[in-house]
Amino acid sequence: MTPNTAPSCAADGPAEAGGSRPATVVEFDGVGLTYPGPPPVAALRPCSLTVREGEYVAVVGPSGSGKSTFLNIVGLLDRPTEGTYVLDGADTTALPEAELTALRGSLIGFVFQAFHLIPHRTALENVALAMLYSAVPARERVQRARTALEQVGLAHRADSLPSRMSGGERQRAAIARAIVGRPRLLLCDELTGNLDSATAASVLDLLDDLHASGMTLVVITHDPVVAARAARTITIRDGVLSEAVTAGTPTEARRLPEVLG
């Protein structure tokens, strides 16, 4: 939209206490992604953005606006073609693929619209899967998966197959899988897209709980109801990232992302 011309300022983030500022989780510095032509397509125009520990950020925009590209870059599923992306203090730009994968597995929890639960595997097994590639011993995996399921209120469905679970239960299981590895960032992609409004509300309540417990959240959505829950809202349109101060937190000074056009 209207490009915010204000340079990216440092002071930001909720629950800032005293002099110690929460650590930076996501830091975009001129990050952009252009698919080589002809003609070259700018899926995400270079932008700068900082997400601090404990923040709850909604990324909104119509479909085809570049939301997915943004998600893929933040989630380390895709590399930007320009700029620098520092995740939890580690510069990901130059990292080899193997380390990028490890970083993705250990620092980011994904929640997808389509749940992506493996069929024919119980909820517990699906949650435990998240720790498979970090060589956590099987016994500990199951233990932690149980705890995570309890955390999302799904302990009683631990041994159910996804096909026997409701949409809300599936998404809760998916959230349990995303948080079981204690990630630094929970990345949610249209997580209520397949849910009715009542179920969606309860899932969003769960996100609020997680946020309250200190989890850093980035929620990508086209649904204003979902976005309204977040303290910050970032809008993407035609690959251009912009941030407007939302009514939800009027007293807080918002850091505006720098858009370099």
């Binding site: 893929n72 193997a98 490890a102």
Partner: protein
Amino acid sequence: MRGMRGRAGRGGRRSRLRAGDLVREALAGLLQRPGRSALTALGTVLGVGTFVAILGLTATASSQIDARFNALSATEVTVEDTGGDDADHITNSFPADAPARVGRLHGVEHAGVYWIASPEAASGSPGAGTVTSSPVGDLAAGEDVQVVAATPGVLQAAGPGLAQGRIYDAYHQRNAADVAVIGAGLAERLGILTLETRPAVFIGGRPFTVIGIVDDVDRKEELLLSVTVPSSTAMAHWGGPVRGERARMLISTRLGAATQVARNAATALDPAHPERFKVIPPPDPQMLRGGVSGDLDQLFLLLAGICLVIGTVGIANTTLVAVLERTGEIGLRRALGARARHITAQFLTESAALGLLGGLVGTSIGTLVVVGVAVLRDWTAVIHPLTVVAAPVIGLATGLLAGIHPAWKASRIPPVEALRR
């Protein structure tokens, strides 16, 4: 506080997948669709099954040929008197103490020299060889049967089953006693029904006391149709073997000793002229076995190979379909920290496990087929242990081979693509 250093340390780490977890994941992947997995493995089952069945049936059949080579033939050695270069003027190369000489060889149980006696040639008058049990009456015409001159060792080596009486021994041999042992069939034709009456047979008019009637022998069946007399007796009455009817030696050995005995017999008989004897050892079991593998087996093995190829293609195809179906799962795993090689490893392990499973089932079925055929034909089922070990390995190799392409494909799916729904 999360320091920069700590976080950098975390970034330097790489994802790991434990081998146990890999196998568990692969098996879980297979068990997701048990029906499809079974169908996929069918080709391998058939290929490996055919492989085992053919090798097993071949081994079983050749072991039946081996069975003809039994304990009796394996312990029998025959020595023929060829006479060597001196055949024209030496009618009998066997020394007088030939049975004793050979008897000293290790492993020999019984040995004896025998030849076809020729009373006619000796006496020069036709009819001298006619055998009758009575000089007068209906039976006086007699039977024109073979008279065998044999040392007692021949009878012992032949393993006779006596209907009545006994066989002659060293005593009769030493004294050139006029005794005879006759076959049961011949005894019946001669009208000799019992030895209670001390019957005699007349060979060319000369009486011989019948001391035994043989109704069965282990070897040298011709004794059943002959009159057998001590060789010393025959020697005294009719002389040694005549030209054209040279003497032979029959040796029975302990099991396993025959080859060794055969090697030494000629030298033991006459160290100066071992070339005068032709020793016939029992057939070599190794050679019998070697002669069995025919063109047919190779054809069937080719068929088994074709089955395996079809099985490989089947696994490859189904795994490829599964990869496409499970694109979402692949994307999810990548998002959870799986590296491309972890995806490759998982699909390879799945197809290898499928191949191994198919191989194991195929081995079992092949074995059952072999046992079934053996039972029907009243054979002893024989499967070489190497076959049983190799067959599942072949299945495993098939699965691995089949998995290479799909696994590679799976690892090439970019996670972004995989998660797009």
